[in-house]
């Protein structure tokens, strides 16, 4: 510790500037936690703002270039460096600012285009994304290609100046509201992984249709998407022909890390606090003596898991790195989340078993519980993640 007055570093100056700008430009209502779907702005051809504040906030951020602060300016980003980008995100988190837009374009397609797209594609698609003009969805899974994603069958046949796409995708989230879809398609039937390409398709094209999927938890954003002789221009191919699997793997790792972190935000209260409040204690001991060790074990695992994520990030920062860590986190995180909802349900008793009625919060807990069962299926099943850990981390042999 020193007592002399020091000059702020450029980075400290930048942080203060960001903080001041956000304070001045982020409407108070845009600093509240997300309460429902309505609080999210998705953009797109049919995108509408829920209110004036949402619009003002998006537009201010867009003007500033901070929709995606670290993308290059020529692609609609803010052109910030890694360190500066982090500061913007940190300051937004500090103030509790909502994201100005929720976008698969930013989260998924963007990284793929930046890494694998042509210069023309980047200049064309990325600015549309940051401007919120085009809303994207993802077309990977198919009814007969679940864990074995690479066995997909949706075909794109070369017709000289265009492809003709036929087939069906499932689990295309929000496809019914999306403008474009990025798809994995089969361009060679002879090779499995080596016969897949990454294609961008305008959903307004004739022959594209969608149908929503109802889940065990009720309504869902998932759709089935059908392609019936859909003409797609050849320039919509991203990366090389038959090399789409590389792009898919790159994006799946992204997705896995996101899903591993699921459940972080939905129930903020620590589980044991929920337990104390719903079950009560007697002489400082929880009123369900059998559930008590389960809750304690879960809590220990959860904290240990969170500490492990921190440790891994610290190791990455220090230049060490655990190979297939994302599989481990995806597996463990989703299993923890499922276990949490089993415990929540056990604590909730009859309330957790109700499906309707205002008194029972419209079955919110039961529905969330049902939804968690998908955590260990979507984004690569737990079984697939364990296979990856066994093979890539532990080096166990295939047969």
């Amino acid at each position: 510790m020193t007592t002399t007055t020091e000059m702020p570093t450029p980075i400290e100056t930048f942080r203060m500037e960001v903080r001041n700008w956000l304070e001045a430009n982020c409407p108070t209502s845009m600093r509240q936690p997300i309460k429902s779907e309505k609080d999210l702005y998705w953009g797109g051809r049919n995108g509408t703002f829920a209110n004036e504040d949402q619009k003002a906030w998006f537009e201010a951020m867009y003007e500033k270039g901070w929709i995606v602060p670290h993308w290059p300016k020529e692609y609609g980003g803010g052109g910030l460096g890694k360190e500066e980008n982090k500061i913007v995100l940190q300051e937004m988190a500090r103030l509790g600012c909502r994201k100005p837009i929720t976008s698969f374009g930013i989260w998924m397609l963007g990284p793929a285009l930046l890494k694998f797209g042509s210069e023309e594609q980047k200049r064309h698609y990325l600015p549309e994304i940051t401007a919120g003009k085009i809303r994207w969805c993802q077309g990977y899974s198919e009814p007969n290609a679940g864990s074995d994603l690479a066995s997909l069958a949706t075909s794109a046949v070369d017709m000289g100046d265009h492809y003709v796409v036929n087939g069906q995708k499932v689990w295309t989230s929000y496809a019914d509201n999306a403008d474009w879809i990025f798809c994995l398609v089969r361009t060679n039937k002879e090779a499995k992984h080596g016969g897949i390409s990454f294609l961008l398709i305008d959903m307004a094209t004739q022959g594209v249709s969608t149908s929503p999927i109802k889940l065990i938890s009720g309504k869902s954003p998932f759709c089935e998407t059908f392609f019936d002789n859909v003409k797609v221009p050849k320039e919509n191919l991203v990366g090389e022909l038959n090399r789409g699997w590389t792009i898919a793997k790159y994006l799946l790792t992204h997705e896995r890390e996101m899903i591993g972190g699921i459940g972080e935000t939905d129930v903020k209260k620590p589980l044991h606090q929920v337990a104390i409040e719903s079950l009560g204690t007697e002489n400082g001991t929880l009123n369900d003596p059998i559930l008590r060790p389960d809750i304690a074990r879960w809590s220990i695992d959860k904290m240990a898991y969170d500490i492990t994520i921190k440790r891994t990030m610290d190791e990455v920062k220090a230049g060490q790195s655990l190979g297939a860590a994302s599989s481990f986190f995806k597996y463990y995180g989703t299993e923890l989340n499922k276990a949490k909802y089993e415990l929540m349900l056990a604590m909730g008793g009859y309330n957790g078993a109700a499906w309707e009625g205002e008194e029972f919060n419209y079955g919110q807990l039961a529905r969330q519980f049902c939804r968690t069962k998908g955590n260990s299926i979507e984004g690569g099943t737990s079984e697939v993640q364990l296979n990856i850990v066994a093979k890539r981390i532990l080096g166990l042999p295939s047969k």
Binding site: K214, L215, G352, G357, I377
Partner: protein
């Protein structure tokens, strides 16, 4: 006693299986749900069940019943567990009829059982008052006023409460807990239907100054606690039979799917990790079947260790059904998450059944207490 079904019981099981496959497959439950059926079960089907004698299996012949016993009833319940059939078998046969069998006077039996036996009157139990099963905690009161009692209180998780004809209500009287038979249409009763996760019926029932005659008392005043435990132990075992049916069906569907679904060019059932998980489930299910049969026999034989058997059974069956229903959805993968696929119905029924009459945690604790630790 040999742990096998006799010929009559086996025949009953087979005929139940055939009837339910025809009249009440899982699809029927989906229909009731999607059409938002007001009764929550199919009245016509219930009439047919009653015609086959399912309402009177546990009623003695002198009151127009078949006196077939709980092992028989258990077989029917197991089959309804396979088809997830919504019916008054739990509320009316396991709870209501058992309550009357155990606690009613001859006069009351003569008045009620022949009608119940024909399926023309529904009786259910109104017991729990808190969020989780806790039959000891009763705050509903029945105050004596002259020749009558006045009921006040609120009951939750009353199965089929919005369609029942009568409630057996547990209430505090001066000298303990007593049971009363109360007409559902009585003044002062308000009933709110609650549709559960499994699309079945429960209700919240409010009693506000409900005046009932002294003749509504079931059994002796203040002596209800032991009867309640006995009703519940029988219901726990009967429900466990239903749950064993559900786990067996969910498991068989899962194994079939493992054989059929191909990934990486082979049936996923050829993956050893899934094989071992399936084999482990098989073992647990076998244990559950044994416990249920043993416990059903113990009801019929009026064995003294019924409480400990009931808790063992409900605990083990609850945990196994949780495992099997979870593994079912997981092994069906994405398709298992969709409402179109029926495996999810088993998951939902599982969780409600687990909570009903005490979950595994409740019964593990009770089992340990009954064992002296």
């Amino acid at each position: 006693m040999a742990l096998i079904l006799n010929e009559e019981q086996q025949m009953l099981k087979t005929s139940a299986k055939e009837f339910l496959k025809e009249r009440a497959p899982v699809e029927a439950l989906r229909k009731l749900r999607d059409e938002r059926s007001e009764t929550g079960f199919d009245r016509q089907m219930w009439n047919e069940m009653a015609e086959m004698g399912w309402a009177c299996l546990t009623i003695s012949e002198s009151y127009g019943g078949l006196d077939f016993g709980y092992v028989g009833l258990g077989q029917i319940l197991e089959e309804t567990g396979r088809t997830l059939t919504a019916s008054p078998l739990i509320s009316n046969v396991l709870l209501g009829t058992t309550a009357i069998n155990l606690a009613a006077s001859n006069t009351q039996k003569e008045a009620l059982l022949p009608i119940i036996a024909e399926g023309k009157m529904l009786v259910t139990l109104a017991l729990d008052e808190s969020t989780r099963h806790n039959p000891i905690q009763i705050n509903t009161t029945a105050s004596k006023e002259g020749d009558s009692y006045v009921l006040n209180g609120k009951k939750v998780m009353v199965l089929d409460g919005h369609v029942t004809d009568k409630f057996v209500v547990a209430a505090k009287t001066e000298n303990g807990v007593s049971l009363f038979l109360v007409d559902a249409k009585s003044d002062g009763i308000s009933i709110q239907r609650v549709i559960m996760m499994d699309s079945r019926n429960s209700a919240t029932v409010q009693f506000e100054n409900v005046k009932i005659s002294a003749s509504s008392l079931l059994g002796e005043e203040g002596q209800g606690a032991a009867t309640i435990e006995k009703i519940l132990d029988i219901a726990r075992i009967g429900l466990s039979a239903e749950m064993v049916g559900s786990m067996t069906e969910a498991f068989e569907r899962t194994v079939a799917y493992l054989k059929e679904r191909k990934q990486f060019g082979v049936p996923i059932g050829s993956f050893q990790a899934l094989q071992h998980r399936a084999a482990q489930m098989f073992c647990e299910i076998e244990l559950c079947k044994s416990l249920v049969l043993k416990s059903l026999q113990a009801i019929d034989a009026n064995e003294e260790n019924l409480p400990i058997l009931a808790s063992m059974t409900k605990a083990k069956v609850s945990e196994t059904l949780q495992l099997v229903s979870n593994e079912g959805v997981q092994m069906f993968g994405g398709i298992g998450m969709t409402d179109d696929e029926e495996i999810g119905f088993f998951l939902k029924r599982a969780r409600v059944a687990q909570q009903t009459f005490g979950d595994a945690n409740y019964h593990i604790d009770r089992f340990a207490k009954l064992s002296g630790y």
